[in-house]
């Protein structure tokens, strides 16, 4: 069994060049032949968050500047998580032609999606940070925690993404289900609202929602200018470890079947 895990790791290591090419492919394709090119990585989330901040600040009668920072801190991890989960789902289906012709370690397909989205997310994070600073946000030492937040979020999203990528091959319906599920999950995650603003039966759902601690990992340093509480850190470490183990377990068990089910 040990040798099996070892060959798997060696294989992934040996394919790092293909992996980097696939990541590059996704980054390049998204903006090829657009006038603004890579700037869209920055403009897109910026415009979206401006709209949301304006609408919801008015709706909730909150102060625009504070609310914009609050929203931005929640949207960054959410957008990354939600795109990884939805896009991983179709990673094998979209590469069917290739998988049926050439042997490549299967994990590089969901893995390349996760890496490409991580790069996108970090870029928009940087752009938004600059905006926040210029409208009068404050820098704090707590920001040095952000790389750790990203690391934990990365493994959590990758774990769930791995499960989705395999599951979608077997049950194509999931491609549609996941879109609706993510929409629902968005509202059950305290992104637009504070967790303590919630009342009624929904509180329980939010408490069970595994995405919540990851939102806190970003919100604490960005919005509250403090480190996340040790409870939140512990919770997210546990969740991302379990997601990753479950993801790898499902993936390693089923990866040989994928080509037969495409």
């Amino acid at each position: 069994m040990k040798t099996k895990a070892r060959t798997f790791i060696e294989e992934v290591h040996d394919s790092r060049y293909v992996l980097s090419q696939l990541v590059l492919q996704q980054l390049i394709l998204r903006y090829r032949r657009t006038v603004l090119g890579y700037l869209w990585t920055l403009i897109n989330p910026l415009l979206m968050m401006t709209v949301m901040a304006l609408v919801f600040a008015t709706l909730f009668k909150a102060e625009l500047k504070t609310f914009a920072v609050f929203l931005f801190a929640g949207m960054i991890p959410w957008n990354f998580f939600s795109s990884v989960v939805t896009q991983s789902g179709s990673s094998f289906i979209n590469n069917e032609a290739l998988i049926k012709k050439i042997y490549l370690p299967k994990i590089i397909f969901p893995l390349s999606i996760t890496f490409a989205l991580l790069i996108d997310s970090v870029l928009s994070f940087l752009a938004l940070s600059v905006i926040i600073m210029t409208i009068g946000g404050s820098l704090s030492w707590a920001l040095i925690f952000i790389p750790i937040s990203y690391l934990l979020l990365f493994f959590f999203a990758l774990g769930v993404g791995l499960i989705m990528s395999v599951a979608t091959v077997f049950f194509r319906d999931l491609q549609h289900v996941v879109l609706i599920a993510m929409q629902g999950l968005f509202f059950l995650t305290p992104i637009l609202y504070r967790p303590d603003e919630l009342m009624g039966n929904l509180v329980w759902f939010v408490r069970l929602n595994p995405v919540v601690p990851f939102i806190d990992l970003f919100r604490a340093p960005l919005y509250l200018a403090s480190l996340p509480t040790s409870g939140v850190i512990l919770e997210s470490v546990l969740i991302s470890l379990s997601a990753m183990s479950l993801g790898l377990f499902v993936f390693l068990r089923q990866q040989r079947q994928i080509v037969f089910r495409l």
Partner: protein, 247 residues
């Protein structure tokens, strides 16, 4: 010294009768317990055994749907054996379909790197062969144009030049391919033959029996996923053609 050992290899596909199982029916069946199978199994390759040693040039012949390509893909690890074992010693080149992994939006040059990576070249190797590939494909002028604007011939030339610029120990071919005009065809053929000469082992699937007899020193005849004949090219091709005329 390369060697390929195939033992009792079977590759089975499931054919679903109605549709791919939906989540609903999957859970419904979980509770029903009585598993009425909505699919039947089909053995594309059925208990095949053979050993190919260094120096052998093997042609695989047989009717359409006999399992030849599935067998080749199994050698290249695309399909995992459902039963049995495949042991391959030596670097194997996946030359099943050229241009697999080309991206239409990418330029020729970008595709050399993308597709090259997929074919298993290292970055260093690609930097070294890039200019040779471009020159052989005669695409100097268009190499920075997205390949979706290429003509079929240009596309084939680039894919062919790239795929044939490495020298694997074990060469696996699904039909000899070469596109383009007469001049390129001649050039491509000699490149192909040089590649075959350099390979330690060559395995090819072809319906061109003359080509098989001229290039190979051993022929395996596959029918309905089983080995029907294995031996000298003239003998096996003769038996295959004879059998076909009879019935």
């Amino acid at each position: 010294m390369s060697i390929i050992r195939v033992e009792n290899l079977s590759i089975r596909f499931r054919i679903y009768h109605d549709r791919s199982p939906s989540l609903k029916s999957y859970f419904a069946n979980l509770f029903k317990r009585q598993s009425q199978t909505a699919y039947s199994e089909f053995s594309a390759v059925n208990e095949v055994s053979f050993t190919i040693s260094a120096g052998e040039r093997v042609g695989i012949i047989g009717r359409n749907g006999a399992g030849k390509s599935t067998l080749l893909k199994a050698l290249c690890r695309v399909y995992e054996p459902s039963d049995g074992e495949i042991a391959v010693d030596g670097r194997i080149a996946p030359l099943l379909e050229i241009g697999a992994g080309f991206h239409p939006e990418f330029t020729g040059r970008e595709n050399i790197y993308l597709n090259g990576a997929i074919l298993g070249y290292t970055k260093q190797q690609l930097i070294e062969i890039e200019s040779e590939v471009v020159a052989f494909a005669e695409l100097e002028e268009f190499i920075d144009t997205p390949v979706k604007y290429y003509s079929t011939g240009m596309y084939m030339r680039l894919a062919f030049s790239l795929a044939t610029s490495m020298h694997p120990d074990i060469l696996v071919l699904d039909e000899i391919f070469a596109g383009g005009d007469a001049a390129f065809l001649a050039k491509a053929k000699s490149r192909m033959y040089a590649m075959i000469d350099n390979a330690n082992i060559m395995v090819m699937v072809s319906h061109d029996h003359q080509l098989v007899t001229s290039l190979c020193n051993r022929v395996i005849w596959i029918d309905h996923g089983k080995v029907e004949g294995d031996g000298l090219p003239e003998e096996i091709v003769g038996r295959y053609l004879g059998g076909k005329e009879l019935g």
